[in-house]
Amino acid sequence: MHEPKNRSGETGPGDDLILSVEDLAVHFPLGGGLLGRNRRMLRAVDGVDLKLKRGECLGLVGESGSGKSTVALSILGLQTPTRGRIVVDGQVVTGRPAGGRKALARTVQIVFQDPYASLNPRQTVRRTLEDPLRVHGVTAASEIEDRVATMLRHVGLRPEQADRYPHEFSGGQRQRIGIARALILNPKIVICDEPVSALDVSIRAQIINLLLELKDTLGLSYIMISHDLGIVEHMSDKVAVMYLGRIVENGHWREIFERPAHPYTQALIAAIPDPLRHAPLATTGGDLPNPLNPPNGCAFSPRCRYAEDVCRSEPGPALETRADGHAVRCWRGEEIAGQMASAEGGVSRVDGASAVHRSLPRQSF
């Protein structure tokens, strides 16, 4: 199963990269006239580069229509890219024949958002976990039994519960089953697609803790897709922010959340309501632009309060990587980095939040 890592030529030996997405683009043709006349293209993903190191968690942030789910589907092999390539654990996985899916399945898995729709209602937990093992050539009944029991214990369920059907479990337990299914083949990368947003608020912490625990005990790497920036900050080592099919900012979590350089990242952070301040939320103005008819120049320019003429003219800004690895797609990124802190609400929010969190552990529970 393990082939030399330098097969792709670019990720040399000793490289810690487990996943690299290079210039990924997914375009969907939309109707249009016959013979391709007037045919419009939805550029769902348009030139995305991502790198995931072994054992790290990469947070992927963006609003609906930003293309983050399409990126995830491409990595899973469920979506054929229009352009670009994906290298998983030293193997180029794009453009492979369909048979490659089985090998990919042992490397990349996914935890879905909705634990209700993502479990087959007519299969017991045991069946859900045993079938993948059989498909991947595990035949010894004792080994199958062992691995299912071990995995159930890993996710905090009891092996005796294996013969129940999904509807006999609560939402949180179902998500544990979903996680067990994703991990049963011992993958290296797990894509967590909004893993807690369908769960009751009081259950979410259990699942977040479980995911972080499993990452360490099993040596996993995560791609964490979420719109909840608090959870992304908590879980991620690196964070990539997507807007309209492109990455607009990418860097270490602390950089992204403490000194966001792209106005969109700043807007996302500022839009989170601060429970301690009965104060207006920072608004951006306008909805997401129509992805079929993206604005000229920088895609965020129509909503950006820093936009100047250069931002509205072609070509749009490129993703510039600074020396510290922080990458920003903005003409004025240097000037406005961290400016949010001086704008209303910025710094005081972080101080206020920390005040609460400092006081909490001391409370008697």
Binding site: V201, S202, I203, G230, H234, R254, P273, D274, T284
Partner: protein, 326 residues
């Protein structure tokens, strides 16, 4: 808190009839909202917050029904009003917006007509006048190019625009109370900020009170002056919104506040294991005896398992239902 509150709920009980027996889906619900005030009702799915809102606006349907208590609007009990009188109250004095505007809007009618209908029904305007008012209403919720948008059907609008239309319809007749049930849950954060600000500004300008219902404690605390936290059909804590985050009193509220990672906390404090609330949310048909949080509560003692706690009024203002509150 002088004089009659705008709306007052007293010891409200909502029954769920599951065919063979009646169970209380919510009980002992009491709160008051003054004119122009913002009040939040927070809890997880199944805690009874949405059905409480439906009871206020007279939209409870089988198998749900009001099993006891009183709802007073400007001092008058409204829970036993005839269907016609309730209809007059709805839309005119009490309005509501929902989580998914697509299901609340009529898909085969242009949005302008749906707004105009409110003026025709409740204000006795002619359709011609109402159409003009509809354009103004759309402009007031900052829909761009309102004179063209009135002819659009709901599916032609984005989620954020649809919620703006819902707000325009809800506020068309200048209601005294706007009930917002998870109004931004289906929306992205930047759009959520827009909608919340819009709602907040319009209601402040018109003196409309807001009852906001959400599972997002942070959002509600930001929008509302006072917040009530519901758990398993009961209000467990009601406080000023800043207090509920700074010094939550009920173990459930404490658990909620502590269990979710908040933006900025890792940068300030480093990453530690999140505090979990053990166990699962009980089903409506299977609420535990005594304090309903007791099976999940670390402080629970014998009294919690047998006796439902009554409301304790806190010195700092607000109330909590817990035998061992901080």
């Amino acid at each position: 808190m002088t004089g009659t509150p705008l709306i007052e709920v007293e010891d409200l009980r909502i029954d769920l009839d599951d065919g063979s027996r009646r169970v209380a889906a919510a009980e002992g619900i009491s709160f008051r909202i003054d004119r122009g005030e913002t009040f939040g009702l927070v809890g997880e799915s199944g805690c009874g917050k949405s059905i409480t809102a439906l009871a206020l606006i007279g939209l409870l349907r089988q198998p749900l029904s009001i099993g006891g208590g009183a709802i007073r609007f400007e001092g008058r009990e409204i829970q036993h009003l005839s269907a016609r009188r309730q209809r007059e109250l709805r839309g005119n004095r009490i309005a509501m917006i929902f989580q998914e505007p697509m299901t609340a809007l009529n898909p085969v009618s242009p949005v302008g007509r749906q707004i105009a209908e409110m003026f025709v029904l409740h204000k006795g305007k002619s359709w011609r006048e109402a159409a003009q008012l509809a354009v103004e209403a759309l402009a007031s919720v900052r829909v761009p190019a309102p004179e063209r948008r009135v002819n659009d059907y709901p599916h032609q609008l984005s989620g954020g625009m649809r919620q703006r239309v819902m707000i325009a319809i809800a506020l068309a007749c200048g209601p005294d109370l706007l009930i917002a049930d998870e109004p931004t849950t289906a929306l992205d954060v930047t759009v959520q900020a827009e909608i919340i600000e819009l709602m907040r500004n319009l209601c402040a300008a018109r003196g409309t009170a807001i009852l906001m219902i959400s599972h997002d404690l942070g959002l509600v605390a930001n929008v509302c002056r006072r917040v009530a936290v519901m758990y398993a059909g009961r209000i467990v804590e009601e406080r000023g919104s800043a207090d509920i985050f700074r010094a939550p009193s009920h173990p459930y509220t404490q658990g909620l506040v502590a269990s979710l990672p908040r933006l900025g906390s890792r940068a300030a404090l480093g990453r530690s294991r999140l505090k979990e609330i053990a166990g699962v949310v009980p089903a409506i048909t299977n609420f535990p005896d005594g304090c309903r949080f007791n099976p999940r509560c670390a402080q629970a003692t014998d009294i919690c398992r047998t006796l439902a706690p009554t409301a304790d009024f806190l010195e700092a203002g607000g109330l909590v239902r817990c035998h061992h509150h901080a």
